[in-house]
Amino acid sequence: MADTTHAHHTSTGQSNVKLGMWMFLGSECLLFGGLISTYLLYRGRVSEGPTPSQIFDIPFTSVSSFVLLMSSLTMVLAVSAAAKKDDRGTNLWLVVTAMLGATFVGGQVYEFTAFYNEGLGFTTSLFGSSFYTLTGFHGVHVTVGIIMLLALVAINKRSKVPGSKAETVEMLGLYWHFVDIIWIIIFTLVYLIPV
């Protein structure tokens, strides 16, 4: 039914914004694919400084991963609330998602600080450079997502028409879930599989 109602808006019958977002996410696969494969190539190249197995704190990173995973649940609940034109619920879940995202980023900052104190700088080794680049890029994506979440809450509060930002919430949801699936890959390939 939704397809039919959109037919007069676009030539595909689908929202152009949504098409654009999926195309963007498809292109992001190439960006993170490059960063992940570069890390895989360089993770064993440690001329000086600590090796991955010496510094990775698996229990800590597991908790961070769990937090980010649960933020995907709260994000999908925000999308669901927006679709029901429930602005109050939407804002609540968006804020909770932003808080969980901030917890994840905070954990990453703590982890980076701990690694630096243990002797792993950005230029210490090829492992360090590729690790910080990969996880740093992901952290920036999460941070941008948090900013967009909070901005959307502010915009939603000003909106006088309930559910008028449903598509925007859905698009932000797609971005947020993408950031989560990238972490699913990073957590396994970077942290759990030893060199």
């Binding site: 098409l19 696969c29 999908v76 559910g163 008028s164 598509e167 859905e170 949801g173 396994t188």
Partner: protein, 108 residues
């Protein structure tokens, strides 16, 4: 008028998004994801022998597909979105597997 049309359009897209699952369904999916994550972490502490790497990869792919299919609604949405996303993904995997093979990554 243009604004009215825009609002109308966004609301309809919101309804479109609702066709996914119920809140209970989303919570169940999240529980499944959490359990898989717990299993993944368990592989770090328990010796899975030759099944270590395959089981980790399978669990990673399972989590990826579950999030994309249910939380991102690809399973319920128009196939054109699946095509756009999986095209990028397959291209990325192809390019970077070839890239890693060039550096003899798989025969170390």
């Amino acid at each position: 008028m243009a604004t009215d049309t825009h609002i109308h359009s966004e609301s309809q897209t919101g309804d479109h998004a609702e066709h996914g699952m119920s809140t209970r369904g989303y919570v169940n999916i999240a529980i499944i994801l959490a359990l898989i994550t717990a299993l993944e972490v368990a592989t770090y502490y328990v010796d899975f022998g030759p099944f270590f790497l395959p089981s980790l990869i399978i669990m990673m792919v399972a989590k990826f597909v579950i999030v994309v299919s249910y939380f991102m609604h690809l399973k319920f949405d128009n196939k054109i979105f699946s095509f756009l996303f999986y095209s990028g993904l397959v291209l990325a995997i192809g390019v970077y597997v070839a890239f890693l093979a060039t550096f003899h990554f798989f025969i170390r």
